[in-house]
Amino acid sequence: MIREILWWIFAAEAVLGALGMVLSRNPVGSLLSLVVTFFGLAAIYVLLGAFFISAIQVIVYAGAIMVLFLFVIMLLNLGHDYHADLRRGVWLVLGGLASGLIGFVLYRAVRTPSLELPSGLTSPLDELVQRQGAVGVIAAPLFRDFSVAFEVTSVLLLVAAIGAVVLAKRRV
C-alpha cells in the first residue's frame, strides 16, 4: 500500500518536473526541473525493484550528464539574458497535437497488452535480486550474454569522447 502511494507521489513529481522543464523559460530552471524528474524516476525504479539502475540514474544521469548540460549552459553564458524561446500559436497547437497523439498511441499500446503482465507487486525478479544482489542480477547477463555489446559500448564512449574534444576544441 505504502509503495503505491509512494509511486503516485514520485510519478507526480516526475510529470511535474517534465512539464517544468518544457515550460520553464530559464534554461537552468529547465535543467533543474529535469533533474527533479530524474530523481522521481530513480525512485520509481526502486519501487520497480531495479536498484542498480536507480543508482546509475542518480549517479550518471542526474549527476554526470546533467552536470555536463549545466556546465555547457554556464560555459555559453545562457543562464541569464535568455529570451523566451517557447513557440506559441500554431506551433503550440501542433506540439500539443503531436504529443497528444503520441501519448494516445502509447496509452492504447499499454492498454491493449499483448502479454500477460503480473498484476501484483511480486515478480520473479525480486527473488533473483534476493539471491544475487542488486548488482549481481544485472552483471551476470551483462558480462555473459551482452559482453560484446558491452565492449562495443566502451568503444562508443571512447569515440564520443574523442569526437567531443575534436568538436569543442577551437583549433585541432
Binding site: I53, Y61, D85, G103, P118, L157
Partner: protein, 97 residues
C-alpha cells in the same frame, strides 16, 4: 503499478515530444530528448519485471549511449555557438531551400 508505470512512461514521452516541437533552445531540445530516453527506460524497467532482467541491461546501454550522445551533442552546440553566438535553433537554418 506495472501498467501504471507504462502509462507514466507514455506521458513523459509525450511531454518530451511536446518540448521538442515547441522549444527553440538547442540545449533544452537535448534535455527533452533525454526525457524521452528516460521514458523509454522506465518502460524497459517496468517490463523487465514481467519479461526478465534483459530490460535492465538495455537501460544500462541506453544510459551509456545517452551519455555519449550528450557529450557529442553538447560539443556540437558549443562549436555552433562559436559561429553564431546563439543556441536558438531559429538561427540554425542553413538546412533550408
Amino acid at each position: 503499478m506495472l501498467t501504471l508505470s507504462l502509462v507514466l512512461a507514455a506521458i513523459l514521452f509525450a511531454i518530451g515530444v511536446l518540448g521538442v516541437v515547441i522549444r527553440r533552445n538547442a540545449i533544452i531540445l537535448f534535455m527533452c530528448v533525454e526525457l524521452m530516453l528516460n521514458a523509454a527506460n522506465l518502460a524497459f524497467i517496468a517490463l523487465s519485471r514481467a519479461v526478465g532482467i534483459e530490460g535492465q541491461v538495455f537501460v544500462f546501454f541506453v544510459i551509456s549511449v545517452a551519455a555519449a550522445e550528450a557529450a557529442v551533442g553538447l560539443a556540437i552546440i558549443i562549436s555552433i555557438f562559436r559561429h553564431i553566438e546563439t543556441v536558438d535553433i531559429k538561427n540554425f537554418n542553413l538546412l533550408r531551400w
